[in-house]
Amino acid sequence: MNQISAVYRNKRVKKMNHSKNINTFLLLLPYGSLFFIFILIPVVMAIGLSFTYFDVINKPSFVGFLNYITLITQDHVFLKNVLPNTIKYAVIVGPGGYALSFLLAWMLAQVQPIPRTILSLAIYTPSMVGQVFVGVIWKAVFSGDQRGIVNSFLMGLGLIDAPIPFLLSSDYLMNVMIFISLWSSMGIGFLAMISGILNINEELYEAAYVDGIKNRFQEIIYITIPSMKPQMLFGAVMAIVNAFNMGWIGVTLTGGNPTPGYAGQLITNHVDDYGFLRYEMGYAAAISVVLLIMVWLFSKIAHALFGEKD
């Protein structure tokens, strides 16, 4: 008798578990399927296509590592312009922008709440203005004729005689792009760091001073950063992604892909160039894979620095 009821109960429990599983599955289904179709599959496809020749019209044909070999041995634009540009840009805008946003967040945490809110809003605003706005503003500021704000300012001071073509000259374009990207890089990573700093338990600082910490610099190194590692890591990931997502900046400023003399050509522009202008999808996919590996390497470094080992 007991056995029977136990079997019966087991069945019921199983049935309940079963319907629980279905519910969980249904809850996850919408997000999961969209994630799968528009994020995971494209990444997997990029890897697959990178080993093929594909011109959109004919079926992709397998070519092995040819695209990668071409990329690192024969693509002069990639080797001479795109790769050095991307590394310079990513290192300054990524880690540079990140350090800057930590520093600003830390200073903001030292002032009173109301001015802090106003100042952070002003600093955050550039990150949400969007591509069109960025283009409009900075084209006006760095315009190559004497009506450009910077040119008119420099000429007014008598520092230069003729206007500098900032956006057309390969000497200036990359630096202008880096400057603008830094300007607009105080995004949610920056906000995360502000609240991270504000939420550190005050007793930690007290204890640290008892233990012999002497100045505010030591305070940052020994207390602030270690206590907000999770936010530091989130901020780092956001900074890296932001640096690579800003790839449109050169094209927006100069009005065309490729940028003049490839001076502002970043790896994302190179992908677009081959993918949507030349329709060499296989080759473009290989470049994308290189880009994804770069992003991944950067974030590995961030995890090694701030990840919590368990």
Partner: protein
């Protein structure tokens, strides 16, 4: 102990030791916001002031002319500006609503349910935080073509609904809800849908607000779909249209382009200011471990 005068973080009152920070922060904040102020002024300048030399920052004699010109312009395509405005609002609102629903249910399942692949899925989503959409624009295009979504509203909306950052932030918030609360709801006979509505949504409001802000900014400024997935002009978005005006801008149109930039920027700003305190609240739980 002698050195410690209380932490200087998050001070309630003013002291002269803060002056050095104001001394750096205030000029910097002004510098950051100045270009934005300049464009907003530019949008209201009459023709004469736009071409003044040397250029001026503030408008003296504001006019709505640039906005009138912008709305009057239907360009080579024959599609009026109001159509693009409608498209953008429709796409943004739909995407934000759908994103909200799937983010809540997804975050609830990933935080409170137990199942086999949970760890893997969470790791995948964490990896996807560093997803750079432009890197895979080619395969995304192929997916859109293969699924037959090309040139449809879905091509705008579907690729942007699943936002790994949004899910991540909301999930961090759901993690804070005690399991006991959900068990109690189950005891009272609540099903998953009721739990989501009565427990999860009210307790994760700040994270949801943040997700709305981030999704809206992404969709509203997006030009990928209009560039690559849409072939008919009447289906494209405001961001795309204004971007094309501004890249082909002749100098004469600079006031109009500024007006366009302001129209694009304002919704972002308004939504962010409305949700600002919620966003900051969410960021407290934004850490990656």
């Amino acid at each position: 102990m002698a050195n410690f005068q209380g932490s200087k973080i998050n001070p309630k009152s003013f002291s002269t030791s803060q002056l050095k920070f104001y001394f750096i922060l205030v000029p910097l904040a002004i510098f950051m916001i100045l270009p934005v102020v300049f464009i907003i002024n530019q949008a209201f300048k009459p023709l004469g002031e736009l071409f003044a030399f040397p250029p001026t920052l503030f408008v003296k004699d504001p006019t709505m002319e640039n906005f009138r010109d912008l709305f009057g312009l239907s360009g080579i395509t024959g599609v009026p500006m109001s159509r693009y405005l409608f498209n953008s609002f429709f796409i943004a609102i739909t995407t934000v609503c759908l994103n909200l629903i799937i983010t809540i249910t997804g975050a609830y399942a990933l935080s409170k349910k137990k199942f086999k692949l949970k760890g893997t899925l969470l790791n995948m989503n964490q990896m996807a935080l560093m997803f750079v959409a432009t890197a895979v624009s080619v395969p995304r295009y192929i997916v859109i073509v293969q699924t037959g979504l090309i040139n449809s509203w879905f091509a705008h909306i579907l690729p942007l609904i699943a936002m790994p950052v949004g899910l991540f932030l909301v999930k961090q918030f759901v993690d804070q809800i005690p399991d006991a609360l959900i068990e109690a709801a189950v005891m009272d006979g609540a099903n998953d849908w009721t739990i989501v509505r009565k427990v999860i949504i009210p307790l994760t409001k700040p994270a949801l607000a943040t997700s709305i802000v981030l999704t809206f900014q992404t969709v509203w400024n997006a030009t990928e779909a209009s560039n690559n997935f849409i072939t008919s002009d009447a289906m494209r978005t405001l961001a795309f249209y204004l971007n094309s005006i501004s890249t082909n801008n002749t100098i004469a149109a600079s006031g109009m382009v500024a007006a366009a930039a302001v129209i694009l920027f304002l919704p972002n700003l308004i939504i962010f200011i409305m949700m600002q305190s919620q966003v900051m609240n969410t960021m407290t739980h934004s850490g990656i471990k």
